[in-house]
């Protein structure tokens, strides 16, 4: 991720070559992923944790502290960067959407790090953002809420998935390619089909709803393998979209009747941050007694080499405020 932005910086200074080719996708990350499907990872200094887990009643402060434990937002958001953020605004039922306090904190940290602009990308209707208080959080912090018309195919770009086992082509919203940095902001919670949602599944929020529908097999109502197919597609999608940073809302979330609720509410008061989606999801699912090995998307993403699923090998920094 760092070298990606460096490449852009070089181009800006006129030192690059073949600028047109390199900027075919403004989002250098995606251009890179498209070229070879390689997954870029921020090199983690030996003294930095893989995950930062901060517990507290002040969720904004917890988010700030989690990022600080990882080395600070400036590690992820270079000056002048255009930042896309991806919170979950599915419904205003308790424990179903990303806390506005966390979103506010992230936008503030991005701006403090020198981000040129911060945009919240979504194809969900504006009502979801208004009802959850996320629209106010985004706008009051000086970020933009970019509402993409889910019914307009022109708003999405076909993206081959070279390493896809089940998903061969995604359809990522155009607006994503206008940004340098992606910060993934899911809420962890139950899911009716695959029992868990976190960083991996949240990226479906960048993919077009019609393409997301292909994650469901045509015979999903009778085929017991349909859930595994869905999970494989989620893992495949994650090979072509790599968030720069993930902050997971694990403060108050539903453990039944997900992802929409209402359901049993668990208040762990945690914010979990990191760059390794597999490691983060492997940790988060344990918050309500699930095992990482039982979550198919985690297994399939690990098989893609997207991260570390073994909690024993994940270096975690924890703090209680």
């Amino acid at each position: 991720m760092t070298h990606r932005f460096d490449r852009r910086s070089l181009l800006r200074r006129g030192l690059g070559w073949g600028a047109g080719a390199l900027l075919a996708g403004r989002f250098g990350q995606t251009a890179h992923a498209l070229a070879g499907g390689a997954v870029e990872r921020l090199t983690r200094p030996a003294d930095r944790p893989d995950l930062a887990v901060v517990t507290g009643d002040d969720y904004a402060a917890a988010a700030v502290e989690a990022v600080r434990l990882l080395g600070g937002m400036a590690r992820y958001v270079p000056k002048g960067a255009r930042v896309a953020i991806l919170p979950n605004a599915q419904r205003n039922n308790p424990g179903v959407y990303t806390s506005p306090a966390i979103v506010r904190a992230v936008v503030r940290m991005c701006r403090a790090a020198g981000a040129r602009e911060v945009s919240c990308l979504t194809w969900l209707p504006e009502k979801n953002w208004l009802d959850t208080g996320l629209a106010a959080a985004v706008r009051e912090e000086g970020a933009k809420l970019v509402l993409v018309d889910m019914r307009d195919p022109a708003q999405f770009r076909p993206v081959p998935v070279p390493r896809g086992v089940a998903l061969k082509e995604a359809a990522i919203m155009n607006a994503y390619f206008d940004h340098d940095v992606l910060i993934n902001l899911p809420i962890t919670k139950d899911h009716a089909g695959n029992k868990f949602t976190g960083t991996l599944k949240n990226l479906m929020g960048l993919n077009s709803p019609p393409n997301n529908r292909t994650f469901h097999r045509a015979d999903w109502q009778t085929n017991p393998d349909a859930i595994a197919h869905l999970e494989q597609c989620i893992a495949d999608l994650n090979t072509v979209v790599t968030p720069t940073l993930c902050l997971v809302d694990a403060t108050e979330f539903i453990t039944t009747n997900g992802p929409f609720g209402p359901g049993e509410l668990l208040k762990r008061r945690q914010v979990v941050a990191g760059t390794d989606r597999v490691a983060i999801d492997s940790y988060c699912c344990t918050l309500w007694g699930l095992k990482p090995g039982d979550i198919i998307a985690i297994r399939r993403a690990a098989a893609h080499g997207l991260g570390e699923p073994d909690p024993a090998r994940i270096k975690r920094a924890e703090k209680t405020l």
């Binding site: 599915q90 017991p224 859930i227 609720g261």
Partner: protein, 314 residues
Amino acid sequence: MRRPATGAAAACAAALLLVAAACSAPPAPAPPPETAGAARLLPGGGAVPGWEPADEIQRFTGDELFLFIDGGADLFLEYGFREVAVRAYRAPGGATINVEVYEMADPAAAFGVYSVRCGDTGDDAAVGSAARLADYYLTVWQDRYVATFTGLSETPAVRDDLLAIGRAVAGRITGRAPLPELAAALPAAGRRPHSVRYFRGPVAAANVPLGEAAVPWQAPEAAAARYGGTGGAAATEVVTLFLFAYADAESAENALSRVAAACGAVVDASGILTLTTKENQPGLAERCGRRVALVVGGAEAGRAAVLKVANGER
């Protein structure tokens, strides 16, 4: 697509109907949105003291459900979904309750969704045919409708308000239906409270305790309940009883044979299959007519006792 159901829309619809009637033989008139389907069950202003509609009614039909609850739609569609009507209600102090009324294909489908979404949580409430009140939400089943009422704040008072709005909705449902036949066939003796589930596919099965054991049976419909632990049914450890219903006895027999082959087990001379599920749970299964009973978990004596009771009550 979202369909706001406004008074203006209703007036327009009525005017159009009048014009059509004047010009030619009118087609079968479509009811205005607020009087059709699930939407007609949502109270208007003044219907519930202290609570007023906070927005327009939204309606989603068929696959449009994905637009409303992407990721959660599969469960409803698996059972057979018609439409959902959604509206928020607000009290003068700002408290908000979200109401969603789902119209399912049939009463059994609505009960199935109710049974899975309630899970073991909450207290029974006297609303509709069955209702469960949890910390901040109420779930109600009546006829082919299942409704959820969600308080956006966890105050003790919200539970009374949930019940008031729940009763206002349930009071508008004219039909009543009995439990699905298969769920009613689950023996009552020794059954653990709130453990009855009714389901029709793998998504719902994934939300039933030990539901993975049901998937290989590929039954068009299934019911489950847990027994034991608190006495009754001669089971001292908790076991789960599944009943699978097939189109006919031959289909049920084929399912028994198929699962036996998949497990590397055989049906004994008395017609009982002893198996170990993919999740390593011990089980006993037996066909009776077009149904198969499967008992999973617990100790062998408990499984045998519950299987016997299940057969006896069928």
